[in-house]
Amino acid sequence: MNRRGSLQLISATGAAALTASCNRINSAVGTLSSPTNLIRFPEKTEMILLTDRPPQLETPIHYFRQDLTPNEAFFVRWHLEGVPTSVDLRTFRLNVSGHVREPLQLSVDELRSQFEPISIIAVNQCSGNSRSFFEPRVPGGQWKDGAVGNAKWTGVPLKSILDRAQVKSGAVDVSFNGLDVPPLASVSDFVKALSIDHARDGEVMIAYAMNDQALPMVNGFPLRLVVPGWYGTYWVKALSDITVLPQVFSNFWTDKAYRIPKGPNGTESPKDLAKDTVPINRFNVRSIFVRPEPDETLHPGMPAEMEGIAFDSGYGIRQVEVSTDGGATWADARLDPEIGKYSWRRWRASWTPATRGQYRLMARATNAMGETQSKEQWNRSGFMWNVIQQLDVKVG
């Protein structure tokens, strides 16, 4: 097996890394809900540390002033302790197997040279982005708004690869596994799946480049599944195995985890949890303030530029409205040109605060389907936050 060589290397260096980690710098537990803690991971800039093992790193908001999120600042979220730390491109293969006539083992070079490449600008957002805003609070990664990013992904349409493998009739699902491994045999390997129709839609792709560069290791080097318009849980990192199945895929990560209440916008009541749940899927509509920043002080009589981003699952953002008086009155923001249906879209609005005081700014995006942001929302997992965005600022 060609993967064996590269994985053995991972195991050796992984152990070395863990041993080395004992020389780590320790932070006192001191206060919980601690102030923002920044950390640098390899190939990354300083990012907001949620957890270090496995890594969960949040993008500081100011990076969202750029339409494409720099690779070094793109958020990171792994599930399993055994994160790949070494890949040998001479031995790494993407394996395509299961309900196909021609199983494939493709090197990254073969993917680059034997298939027509495509590029898509697409938002990737963690299912739990903004989880820390839910009330009552829920356990899980306590993200603010930075578990999201927008990048130009380049690679091969999954359809092209499945066509070469010659999918047999009766295929139902396609599953995706990466190089990450569970820390205990009892922990389910992180494998996700899409329906065969979705997998062959021509847009789901296997990316070998992100913003025209190789992916950082912690963002999924050397290959990452890109599922435009869908939550990040499907964007399997360090993708190594694609399996075509003649039945519905089933495992912990789809049957128990990453499920949302079946009702509208994944909402349920804390007092009456939904009985019926479905796997999380497409993004809902949301916006994020980029400027001003939460700790910024504005001045009376001085023009202040408001700026933000808005996105949905690919229908397109039609309107963004902003309020500077806590939602009493609303005005249309200006929309920058669309740069791709799966990209986020920038919006801007000018505002000159008249007097000193505290102001509550709000932003509400609406897409081409007429879908807009929630007034209130809660679910037990803290998924799909899209409550009308609020930002409290001081004018002084």
Partner: protein, 143 residues
């Protein structure tokens, strides 16, 4: 599939943890929250033509104060994840922490007894708890 290879990764990883990292209590110096001064390494960066891309992960793990249940917490929980999984959470009720500890045992197969679940819960409540308020959010899977 390469299940055997995966076992190698796991066993080496666990061995390293058990050998050196299982008990932060032997680390004498505590530093303030801040940027970890851990050496960053990526051999790919220094040798762009190399076919082998390797990084070394930094770690920045909190030290936990003494208290009943601390040893059970350190031994059972830190094998699979950083204790930052606890410190990043808001204060939760005992019901919620008990749900989380039971989830680790029943769903993820942590090697702990029911008795240890209670001890670990006591410790979690002591460091990051709040009074029960009637209902509490059920534990979540995935994040």
């Amino acid at each position: 599939m390469t299940p055997k290879t995966k076992c190698v990764v796991i066993s080496l990883g666990l061995a390293a943890l058990v050998a050196g990292c299982g008990s932060p209590s032997n680390i004498s110096k505590e530093t303030d929250h801040g940027i970890a001064n851990v050496k960053m390494e990526s051999t790919f960066d220094s040798k762009p033509d190399s076919p082998v891309h390797t990084i070394v992960m930094p770690h920045d793990e909190p030290v936990f104060r003494p208290g009943p249940g601390r040893d059970d917490f350190v031994i059972a929980c830190v094998v699979c994840h950083s204790p930052r999984y606890i410190t990043m959470q808001p204060r939760f009720s005992r019901t919620t922490w008990l749900g989380e500890a039971n989830k680790m045992k029943d769903v993820y197969g942590a090697h702990i007894s029911d008795e240890q679940v209670l001890k670990i819960t006591d410790y979690l409540v002591s460091i990051n708890g709040k009074p029960d308020a009637g209902q509490a959010p059920k534990g979540t899977y995935g994040e």
